[in-house]
């Protein structure tokens, strides 16, 4: 297994303007959407607060439509905030928009690329807009993709010829190429085959072990959350209903149920439904 060079993923320069600032501070953030003139606005996220320290992997769990993706989009500056505040290493995301954009990147559930272009062409574009040296970036692309088991023979072929799992790995490479110190992973392993899922999970663990990238991870895979996350926030109906370490959540559920509980029991208890039920609910994507 080829390790990613240690200088590749670490942040360049000082991370923030305030020493001791949390990596991510979400302070009583709310967001609602107008869905029709005659209907009241729909609250997607209500009064959500979170604090992540540098190097944390923080899981956000919730059913479809619970507000997870909206929260990620709010942190990424892709949605305006109705009330509250989000700061990344002390930089307010609305006042210091460009500074925050330099510190963060995101991987969403859909690998979004110009599908006619090759991974290299897409990633060179990303490198240029993030002000990276293209020659070095090309070298890094090969290193990251090799680490994610994407062969170098795939690098110059159109992305549309790659499997969904391969495309998702290229999406992860794009995010890592820019050396974000806050990485937003919005269901990055959804739809991947078990091998690809493990590749991605191993890579996230490697990031935690060798670098101090702070990660916000939304997932429907409870085993993945248990394996990767230091702390978990559960959101239901746009509100935070639980916030603890995975062990803490399971312990509380065990005490309440009077039997050995799992994270699945925790999810059921706080969201009032199973993950299978989510299939039938309206997807939050229709809202955001």
């Amino acid at each position: 297994m080829t390790a990613v060079p240690s200088d590749l993923l670490s942040p360049k320069g000082p991370p923030g303007r305030e020493l001791g600032s949390p990596a991510l501070l979400i302070d009583r953030v709310s967001k609602s959407f107008v869905v029709g003139r005659s209907r009241p606005p729909v609250a997607a996220v209500t009064d959500v607060s979170m604090r992540l320290e540098r190097g944390d992997i923080h899981g956000v769990l919730g059913a479809n439509g619970s507000g997870k993706s909206t929260l990620i989009r709010l942190i990424a500056g892709l949605l305006t905030i109705d009330s509250g505040r989000v700061a990344v290493f002390g930089h307010d995301i609305e006042r210091d928009e460009l500074a925050v954009k330099r510190l963060i990147n995101r991987v969403s559930v859909d690998a979004a690329f110009f599908k006619k272009l090759s991974p290299m062409e897409n990633l060179v574009f990303a490198a240029r807009v993030y002000g990276l040296n293209v020659k070095e970036a090309k070298r890094d692309v090969y290193a990251i993709l090799e680490r994610l088991h994407v062969g170098s023979d795939r690098v110059d072929r159109p992305i549309e010829q790659m499997s969904r799992g391969m495309q998702q790995k290229v999406a992860i490479a794009r995010a890592l190429l820019t050396s974000p110190i806050l990485l937003l992973l919005d269901e990055p392993t959804t739809g991947l085959d078990p091998r690809s899922k493990l590749d991605v999970q191993d890579f996230i663990e490697e990031l935690r072990a060798t670098h101090d990238t702070t990660i916000v991870l939304t997932t429907h895979d409870l085993a993945e959350a248990e394996r990767l996350c230091d702390r978990i926030t559960i959101i239901d109906g746009g509100r935070v209903v639980a916030k603890e370490t995975p062990d803490g959540l399971v312990a509380a559920a065990t005490a309440r149920l009077g039997r050995a509980a799992t994270l699945w029991d925790v999810f059921m208890a706080y969201t009032g439904r199973s993950l299978d039920d989510d299939v039938d609910t309206a997807d939050e994507e229709t809202l955001a």
Binding site: F33, V34, R73, A76, G77, L78, L79, T80, L98, K101, R102, I104, N105, R106, S108, D110, A112, F113, F114, K115, K116, L117, E121, V124, F125, A126, R128, V129, Y130, G131, P158, R174, E285, L287, A288
Partner: protein, 267 residues
């Protein structure tokens, strides 16, 4: 200076990416070129039918310039529409670059592409009408007005790019409304003198009116650009006004899209 360099490099990123896209879809580019040549030819042949070499040249200028404008508009509109379709719009919006760098890169590529496309059509038409009398033509004047026109159209291009940003399903098609209104009022195939008075007032607000006047004066009568000040200064003023206005308006539209969640992938 470093910051300007970084922003220029970011603008170049968009030009390079669009070039990669053009290269990947070269077969479509050839087909589109054939379509454009056929359109320009069929319009120019109206002049032949009327037995007027001057009309042929006048219609040719109109057809070629209109092709340029259409190509620029299509590129700008489709770039945002395709970004929506591919889902990359949110990633583009997350990039740590200024709005102006992003838009200047997109618009610059559209214009370079448009100029090359137009030059090819001009060449083909020249071959089709080998007896066309261009002995009096002043190509320098035509070049000056194409350059000034491009400058003025940056602002309009940025304004047009707002439509696919705001109107998720039909925004790209709505740019054609802007395009056809410009076609109507700018004297592309006829003199603006024949328009109703209120339309003539509107024609003064279109950069295309002055570009066509200038290019026709240069190619048909050989007038140097220095004697066409009445067409030059409105183009400069329109460019100076429309670019900052376009950037401001696009910023407001982007804020609206972020408030209402319209940046999200559709497709």
């Amino acid at each position: 200076m470093t910051m300007i360099g970084a922003e220029l490099r970011a603008s170049y990123a968009f030009m390079e990416r669009n070039f990669f896209l053009t290269r990947r879809t070269w077969a479509w580019e050839v087909a589109f070129l054939a379509y454009s040549v056929a359109s320009a030819l069929s319009i120019s042949l109206i002049g032949v039918d009327q037995g007027s070499a001057r009309l042929v040249l006048s219609l040719m200028v109109g057809a070629i310039f209109w092709n340029y404008l259409s190509v620029v508009f299509s590129w700008i509109a489709e770039t945002i529409a395709v970004e929506r379709w591919e889902g990359t719009l949110e990633y583009t919006m997350m990039a740590p670059i200024r709005r102006s760098s992003r838009l200047i890169g997109q618009v610059s590529y559209a214009m370079v592409y448009g100029l090359i496309h137009t030059a090819v059509i001009f060449l083909v038409l020249g071959l089709f009408f080998p007896n066309l009398d261009l002995s009096k033509a002043n190509p320098g004047t035509a070049a000056v007005f194409m350059a000034l026109g491009s400058f003025s159209f940056v602002g309009i291009g940025i304004l047009a790019a707002i439509l696919p940003l705001l109107y998720v399903e039909r925004g790209a098609q709505m740019t054609f409304v802007v395009q056809s209104c410009l076609l109507l009022i700018s004297g592309v195939y006829y003199s603006t003198d024949i328009l109703p008075p209120w339309m003539q007032v509107l024609s003064h607000l279109s950069p295309a009116t002055y570009v066509l006047d200038g290019v026709r004066a240069g190619l048909l009568r050989g007038t140097p650009a220095t004697e066409l000040w009445a067409d030059v200064w409105p183009l400069v003023v329109l460019g100076v006004v429309l670019i900052p206005f376009g950037l401001w308006a696009f910023g407001r539209a982007e804020h609206y899209a972020k408030r209402t969640g319209k940046l999200k992938r559709v497709g």
